[in-house]
Every structure is written in C-alpha cells, then in structure tokens.
Symmetry: C2
Subunit: 338 residues, 2 copies
C-alpha cells in the first residue's frame, strides 16, 4: 500500500526544515539556490507531490472550480466543458463538473456541495433555480459566472449568448427564403417569458409583418425525443407550416426524423433550423442549418472571467456578450411554390 510522501519526509531527507522545502517548491521567500536545487532533486526522486488538501486548508484556495451543467448529455455542454477544462488545466486548476438534470431541487444542493468541497469559484449554466434562491446563495459566495441567464447580482458575472439576435436571424433567413408560416419548437423547461429565443422568434415575425400565433409554438423537452414529439404534434395540428425554428439542434434533429416518419421531406417540404451548431448537425442527412455558438470559446471565456474574479476579489462583475452566427446547410430551402 502506498504511504504518501509528505513534506516532512523530504525535509528529513534533505536535512532541512519543512519550511525550507515549502519555500523551494513554491518559489517563495529567500532561499539558497543550492539548497533549492538539492530539495527539488529530492522532490523528484522521492515522488513528492504536495497535498492540495493541506495547502487548501491553509490558503483557502483549492484550485478547483465548479461547473454546473443542466444536461451533460446534450453535446453542447461537453464541448463547452472542454473549453473550461482545458483553460483551467492550463492555469493549474481543475473543474468539478456536475449535472443538474434540469431539476431545480438538485441545483441548490449541488451548488452547496461544491461550496463544501471548497471550490474557488463557480460557473453555472442552468435556469431552474428561482431568482430568490440564487440570490440567497450568491449573497454568501462570491466568484460566480452565470452563463446564458438574465439575472442581476453584484457577486455574479454574466456571460450571455445572443439568443434573441440569433433567433431573429434564423427567422429572417426563413423569411428571405419565402416562408411565411413559421413554427417554433421551444423548451418547456424554461419559464415561458424568459426564453429569449422565443422572444427573438416573435419579434422577427412582427418585424416582417407576420402574425405571432401561440399555436405555432410547441413546447417540449429540449432534446432529441422532445423534438421528435414536438414536431409530430405541431405538424399534425398545423400542417400548413413550411418552416420550423427549433430551440436547439437536438430538437431540430428530432424534428427532422419526425418529418421523415410522417412523410414530410426536409428541406423540400419543410425547412428546419436549429440553434447551437453541435458537431453532429454537420453529419446529419440533411446537414442542419443552425445558429452557431462557439461553445469551446464560451467555456474558455467563462473560466478566464472566473479566474480574474478569483484572483482579484474586488474586481467588479461585468456582463459579457457572446455573438452567434447563422450557418446555412441543407435543412433549409426556398419555399416550394406548388
């Protein structure tokens, strides 16, 4: 069985005090170069690794950040998580990833668990906890980056995806293709008024002088199966629709499959557009037209921002916006005039 080698072991072996060893490994304080070299040598041969636990207990820094995600199963999140992780690792941090499974009850518990675990900061991408609960939490925990959620708190840094703009450009594009009956598959898990992708959809319709009809919006879980169900049901009730804007790519992919099963060709009979631009959308047949979000960059930015906040607790929070971009592929086509 392994017996951890501690700083004392190294100190004894080097014939110095553990304080000196500490100085050597942390590059801190005055220390004779020769002594330092000798100690570093020993550290290597003995395979000594300082216990982060013990360090953390002193410094109150664990070099861990928490990453709270709503659904690690949606490829959007792993891509973003890599952005966080890679950046974190490059700064000698590690990330504790947890999944809320879109359950509000879990969210606060998980947050508190991460705090108990001693994380130095938190990145969250969820929208289930109520604002008041979040506030109660944020009041006692400072460095926190909230992604893709409108919320205000002096301790919470915002990182917002341009959802509304993205939704608008999706609808604009469909409109330019000649589509006039445009439906939307939305996310049932979010409080309706808060979905900026729906707001963008509505405002774009209005801008083009098209009526905004609630019966054109179908709400479901924002995943493959949800998209499948939503499309089946919506197209069953509103067969006149010639285009569908979907809350995310997973829903769009599910919708495309549903169309195939009910005999509607994509894009000949109906155009479908997603949001997120996950990798898989590229390889689908037809390849998915989508609103692209740079997920890796999103993760990178979130960590960078969090790190700044951790390193300087007095730095004020700010709101960062992340642009999006329409990527045209095969699932959209000009309106078929027949």
């Amino acid at each position: 069985m392994k017996q951890r080698v501690t700083i004392d072991d190294v100190a004894k072996a080097a014939g110095v005090s553990k304080q000196t060893v500490s100085r050597a490994i942390n590059d801190k304080g005055e220390i004779h170069p020769a002594t330092k070299a000798r100690i570093l040598e020993l550290v290597n041969t003995m395979g000594y690794r300082p216990s982060r636990l013990a360090q953390a207990l002193n410094t109150q820094r664990t070099f861990m950040v928490g990453l709270v995600l709503q659904d690690i199963t949606n490829p959007f999140f792993p891509e973003m998580a890599r952005g966080v992780q890679d950046t974190a690792l490059a700064h000698d941090y590690s990330a504790l990833i947890v999944n809320t499974d879109e359950k509000a009850e879990l969210e606060l518990g998980l947050l508190n668990m991460l705090v108990a675990q001693g994380v130095d900061g938190l990145i969250t991408f969820t929208h289930h906890a109520a604002d008041e609960e979040l506030t109660k939490f944020a009041d006692t925990f400072r460095p926190m980056v909230l992604i893709n959620r409108l919320y205000e708190h002096p301790n919470v840094n915002l990182l917002l995806i341009d959802n509304k703009k993205g939704a608008e450009s999706a609808v604009d594009y469909l409109f330019s293709l000649g589509h006039r009956q445009i439906g939307m598959l939305s996310n049932a898990q979010i409080f309706p008024g808060q979905v900026r992708r729906v707001q963008g959809y509505k405002s774009a319709l209005a801008k083009h002088g098209l009526p905004v009809r609630e019966e054109y919006i179908e709400k479901e879980s924002a995943n493959l199966a949800g998209g499948y169900r939503a499309a089946t049901s919506l197209l069953g009730q509103q067969p006149e629709l010639t285009a569908l804007f979907c809350y995310n790519d997973l829903m769009a992919l599910g919708a495309i499959r549903a169309c195939r099963d009910i005999g509607r060709r994509v894009p000949e009979d109906i155009s479908i557009i997603g949001f997120d631009d996950i990798q898989l959308a590229t390889m689908n047949s037809p390849a998915l037209t989508s609103i692209s979000v740079d997920k890796y960059e999103l993760g990178r930015l979130a960590f960078k921002r969090l790190l700044a906040l951790i390193e300087d607790p007095h730095r004020p929070v700010e709101t960062i916006h992340m642009g999006v971009e329409l990527v045209i592929r095969e699932s959209t086509a000009p309106l078929n005039q027949t």
Copy 2:
C-alpha cells in the same frame, strides 16, 4: 463577503465543545438526544456546512473520485459519466471528470493531479498510457477501476465490455444478410493488436470462411470526421465492399454521411453497422444499426465497484464483464443482388 461559519462558531453558540458538535453532525459516538437536537437546530439556522477539506485532512477521505475519460465529446462518455455521477451523488460522493483528449502525455499528469487533489479512487477509460507507466502508477495508488482495457495488476479492478463478442455478432449479422465483402473502420489511436473489436471482426470472418484482408480495414480517429474520411478512402479503394462494420457509432455516422456524398445509398447499396448505440444513432436517417452497450449501467457499475474497494481496502479486485447486444435499425439490409 462571506465569513465561513466553522464548527467552533456552532460550538460556542451551543455552549458545548466542538467535539460534541462533531458528534451531532456525524451521528457518531454517544450523545444526548436533546443536545444533538439543539446543535442540529443551530447548524441549520447558522447555515453551517462542515468543510470537506478539513474533514478530509483528518480522515484521508475526500469523498471525491476521479473519472478520467478519453473524449468527453463522444456522447458515449457523457452517458456513462452520468451513471457514475448519479451513483456517486447518491452515496454522497462527487466525481472529478477530466478529459485526456486521447493524449498519452496528458494521461499520467492528469492521474497524478487527481491524486494530489486527494481523490479516494479512480475510474479510467483510456488506453493511451503504456502498461509500464500504468503499473508504476497503480503500484502507489490503490482503488482503481479500469474500463475497457486488458491489463493486469493486483490493485486494478477491470470492467470489460464484450467487444469481441459484439464485433462478432455484428459481422455474423451482416453475413446472415448475405454480405461477403465486409470492411471495417477501426480506431487509429489504439495499438493495432489490442483492438478487440478488430479481433472479433477477423475471427467472425474466419468462422464464416471469408478471407481476412488487411486492406479492408481502414484506421482513423474514432469520431465523426474520422469516420467520414475513412469511409471515403476505403470505399474509394475497395468499391466492391457491400458492408461496413465501424469501431463506434460516431465513425458509422460519419461513414453514412460519406456514403451519401459519394452517391452510395445506405442501406440499399451498402450496409453500415456501428458500436455503442449512442442516442443520436436512433434519430439519424437512416437510423443506425449498432451494438448496444448500456453506458449508464457501465458507469453505475464502475462506481459501485470502486466504492466497494474504497470501503474495504482488502477486498480483492475482480474482472467484471459487461454484455452487449445487437440492435437492428435501418442502416443494414439484405445484400442487393444485382
């Protein structure tokens, strides 16, 4: 700014020693029910949460396990990670997920980082570190569950997917459909002799009296783009192939897309079969025939096994096998006799 409430604060407030508080929160040792109730009450109102850090330093238990994955971007891994996490959470553990990006150099470093972080155990699903390095590591760190890799060490518990059997049943099925020219898209990142999915492919061919031809095996990265490239290249050189068995679903999906782009219809002109049965494979057009692995269960089992090892350090390691199952969908069809 928040000032952590410590056990001393609670003890003072309750007018007892911190030891008593410790007893109350940990349900350990004799304690008067009334005292306990009073303390617990205080714990609640004061919002006290024991520092896992401090606890860990004493007990040498962090209640964290490390989960080392090769590519969090492949949907296989998030699904499995959820199995690990959910189970871990249910046992009051949390999981530190890290991604090796299939880089051998990173793997050992990450492993050591997790150890420094104080994880109680390790679950790894990678195959890049050399056996000797792994051994050197395993010699000093005990509770470890290795998934899907053949390796022997008294400290390492194995959890093996029935790759060979799965590959065989894939080829058997293609054979039963009448296919005789069956190619394979394999994983270039693994040392060739070690790929049991290839071994199964070969042995099944041999069983049916078909020749095993190395030029029918194309090696590439085991992802969408790799599958796309591999299929394009293989079918370009060996146009007589009527079926493709792929290392995983991602490659299969890429291959299907490649077929579409070179004008080969799936499954009319060519049958394609994957491995893993990721969710997305269901919604693809055509839906993918695949060898199904219960990923969530795999994660659950891995954690359960690790926990047993953590709780009883003297428990001997064992090798667990995980079955697979052929799931027939739309990407395979009887050989087209023309």
